[in-house]
Symmetry: C2
Subunit: 212 residues, 2 copies
């Protein structure tokens, strides 16, 4: 679809680009103006050729032979490439510990994500957290529709996840970031991404060299 001039970008590259961004921002903060693919590769544990291929794809300007890539321009290019400048609205469903932590999380704004509001079944949770309103669950459809929100962050307890998910889908949510450690049954056209903190941690442990 589109005009056919799109560049094919591999999934693997796409998953690495946010890591470059994080690294480059760190270097920029240290006052580094140029980076070479060799240095980036060493610091990040990638191969230099891989880094060049990835960056060539996202950079608006080719790297300078003998010099490398300009850090500040590269940051802007990668952000643009990833679409972090086009804003996306999201809602949080479940205003318990994790939901509240997410409401106060300052990292989203940098990625073009705007958390609109949170929702909870419990009247005691209604109010505001981190400057964001927490509404009773009944208002979910109204607010999702009014703002045309497509993305929802699900942070309810395990047992409430499936039914909350169904409410979200009914309200018009089509992409769910699920923190509840359960499998969600969703209709076609709805994407679920599982953000299982325990799995992340377990996979990290798996990488720890097990000595004897």
């Amino acid at each position: 679809m589109g005009n056919g001039s799109e560049i094919a970008v591999s999934k693997a590259t796409l998953s690495r680009l946010p890591a470059y961004l994080r690294y480059l921002k760190g270097e920029a903060g240290k006052g580094v103006e140029y980076v070479s693919s060799a240095v980036v590769a060493r610091d990040m544990g990638y191969s230099a050729v891989g880094v060049r291929k990835d960056l060539a794809l996202a950079s608006s300007v080719p790297g300078k032979p003998g010099v490398g890539f300009e850090v500040r321009r590269l940051i802007a290019d990668v952000e643009k490439f990833l679409g972090y400048h086009s804003w996306t609205d999201a809602v949080v469903v479940g205003a318990g510990g994790l939901g509240r932590a997410i409401l106060s999380y300052d990292g989203f704004e940098n990625y073009g994500i705007h958390v609109v509001a949170a929702f909870d079944v419990s009247p005691s949770k209604v109010g505001a957290v981190g400057g964001k309103p927490v509404y009773p669950m009944e208002r979910l459809p109204e607010i999702v529709r009014r703002n045309g929100v497509r993305v929802g962050i699900l942070t309810v307890p395990r047992g409430a996840a499936q039914s909350a998910c169904e409410e979200m889908v009914r309200a018009g949510i089509t992409a769910i970031l699920n923190f509840a450690p359960v499998y969600l049954n969703v209709p076609d056209g709805v994407t679920v991404k599982y953000e299982d903190l325990a799995v992340s941690l377990a996979s990290l442990c798996g990488e720890t060299p097990v000595s004897e």
Copy 2:
């Protein structure tokens, strides 16, 4: 290393196994006793042959032609295969909103992860959350060493992340799950896994079909 009888298991398979586990537990909860690769594939959006290859690797018993795999046994086998039954201790550094949410998170126990304690520089955070102690930061080395903890969960604000990370490494932590949205500089032998909530959400948004 080892006795040479180890089976090569692809990274791709390893990353899918926790997803199978989540799905299988959901089915078990519904009372399903057997699943076929075709059904799993349809529900999870994989290919049936891929599912068979993955499950063959983790299952202790071959699937029965004409019937499929026994759900309960498969769950036990996959858990065993992933090593979720060998306990790993972990500490949380940073007892703010996210740190406290993780302390009360009930999902870790199922994955063989035991959160020992949390630490915070602020005296006002010291105490207990979710039945877990929160100690002042000074006690990190002592408690990490005494328990032989290798895994740390970093949930301090962005600006404090690098120095907290260094304290963790000094104390003996060799694997860090980093929730701060910054690149961490660590010595060789230390693994960092970036758990950037914003990146997860952004990548989810990227999968949302952009209409016109």
